[in-house]
Amino acid sequence: MSEYLLDVQDLHTSFFTDAGEVQAVNGVSFHLDPGEILGIVGESGSGKSVTAYSIMQILADTGRIVGGRILYKGDDLSKFSEKQMQKFRGKSCSIIFQDPMTSLNPVFTIGSQLKEAVVLHTDKRGKEADERVIELLELVGINEPQKRVKQYPFEHSGGMRQRVMIAMALACEPDILIADEPTTALDVTIQAQILELIQELQLKLGMAVILVTHDLGVIASMCDNVVVMYGGRICERGTASEIFYHPKHEYTKGLLRSIPNVNNMKERLVPIAGTPINMLNLPKGCSFCARCDNAMKICLDRVPEELEINENHKASCWMNVKQAFEEGGAAV
């Protein structure tokens, strides 16, 4: 059996709140190869961030992984001691968050925060660590790093702060970079700089990237493979071309119809009807069922099985199963 860099198997993560159990992630599986850029896209509240936090094991106090396994190079993360986990978080896998202002400490200089990360995650100390800090700032394209290290976060623009966050995440040269909406708070021109930077570093350092975003444009320009989430589950996965040109799940199809068509800008958009689902009260069958125009009876009752469309593409929609059955292709 070949071993993946990261292998998420049937992950279930819940929050135990006063209002009840929120099943935020419900059986998510995917894997990641070295140097791959995997995109995770989906409705707000569909469990993208919780999936990322589950991998890093940085869930809120009320959150818990209640099922499944996460393997890093074949080792089960749940068997890691706190010390091993800290090493994983530092050396193997780093995360950058959506809002760079809340994740930098306003009362310390950029330099001291970066140095702390370097000291924590590498064996560099003193002058060597200082040099590494400058090197990292140069790597993420910040001019005059000698001057910048003495400044505080508020003295930097949003784009620069996000660069500092990336520098911090790279301090340990991780195998995996998880970027949770790294550019959502930024302008398009700054977003382009940051995306270019991530791409460049991925090429240069060979790290794998999990890119969480709701922006289909970002997915299309960055990702090799795409996972589409809805209601805590993966509804469709495949290469970017398969997902964009041959979507096989009604949610993905709807999502693509609800954004302007770049080939015909004046074409009316086709919205997805209804409102997002209530995670406290998940339906028994397919979670997209209530908003799906083509829902059948089975969709109400049973969660769809994932069907292989081709070797680069899988989808979880009963319509595909029905079609395969009618064509006599698959045994159902």
Partner: protein, 319 residues
């Protein structure tokens, strides 16, 4: 050619900002902006965060008193004295559907407020009838009328805000990032509603948004702003297919296109550096510090908009 519905001439909006112990410095949020909007038309307004888009919208309907410049509505000058009546015809929809509605008011009272302010009904029954018909227009259920704003989802709240903006039968609505806070799958519902209302009622929009694809989709013409000034304004397709200002070109090349083949074959024209502080503007053209084409002249004076044919206006010496 018909007369414009809204005309803005040399609008300036400066905010005094404290600088140290001594005195203040003007922050030129909007600096000499002119444009027009035709009846039933959508003018898109785009540009980076802080370039003054919201301020243009707010000054236009006198939510701020402009530092200088004039706004004409149907040929009549908008002033302090007549703004209250004018506001019947000029409304605004705000970016954030979560904070722009009073959560303790019922949907009925939120939508009814402009009717009350302008005395647009004779009997209670008439008021209710108007409200229900507005709710129907924006696709809200009549049984929602007595519920409170906080009970609704983002998309539904945005509909409530739009119903309120429509209540006094405006001819013009400033839409400030009306879909940015919404989920992609909900955005299309709201965008379609704006388009349907325009077809049905002939309202004109100033549509402010940072999603350039959405703006291209909905707009007849587009204005591009950079640091308080309009640098390019033209037909929506012209701006997108034949952008001329260096800033517009890099802005458009930075937009991620949701189509893998196109996205991968495209080259991004990356802008160096960040937007300068509006308190510390470069001399001459504000864009010159990030511009590949900048020359001596750009530091000395600021180019004004000139017509490059077909009403395609560009403010640049070198393009």
């Amino acid at each position: 050619m018909s007369a414009p519905l809204v005309e803005v001439r040399n609008l300036k909006q400066y905010f005094p900002v404290k600088t140290g112990f001594f005195g203040t410095k003007p922050l030129k949020a909007v600096d000499d902006v002119s444009f027009y909007v035709n009846p039933g038309e959508t003018l898109g307004l785009v540009g980076e965060s802080g370039c003054g888009k919201t301020t243009v919208g707010r000054s236009l309907i006198h939510l701020y008193t402009p530092t200088s410049g004039e706004v004409y509505f149907n040929g009549e000058r908008v002033e302090k004295g007549n703004i209250k009546q004018m506001r019947r015809r000029m409304q605004m929809v705000f970016q954030d559907p979560y904070s722009s509605l009073d959560p303790r008011m019922t949907v009925e009272d939120i939508i009814g407020e402009p009717l009350d302010v302008h005395g647009l009904y004779k009997t209670k029954a008439e008021r209710r009838e108007r409200i229900l018909s507005l709710m129907e227009t924006v696709g809200l259920n009549a049984e929602h009328a007595r519920r409170y704003a906080h009970e609704f989802s983002g998309g539904q709240r945005q509909r409530i805000g739009i119903a309120r903006a429509l209540a006094a039968e405006p001819q013009f609505i400033v839409c400030d990032e009306p879909v940015s806070a919404l989920d992609v799958s909900i955005q299309a519902q709201v965008i379609n509603m704006f388009e349907e209302l325009q077809d049905k009622l002939g309202v004109a929009y100033l549509f402010i948004a940072h999603d350039l694809l959405v703006v291209h989709h909905i707009s007849d013409r587009i204005a591009v702003m950079y640091l308080g000034k309009i640098v390019e304004i033209a037909d929506a397709d012209d701006v997108n297919n034949n952008p001329m200002h260096p800033y517009t070109i890099s802005l458009l090349s930075a937009v991620p296109i949701p189509d893998p083949d196109i996205a991968r074959s495209r080259k991004r024209i990356l802008l160096e550096g960040d937007v300068p502080s509006p308190l510390n503007m470069p001399s001459g053209c504000a864009f010159r510090t990030r511009c590949r084409y900048a020359t001596e002249q750009c530091a000395q004076s600021c180019p004004s908009l000139t017509d490059r044919g077909n009403g395609h206006m560009v403010a640049c010496f070198n393009r």
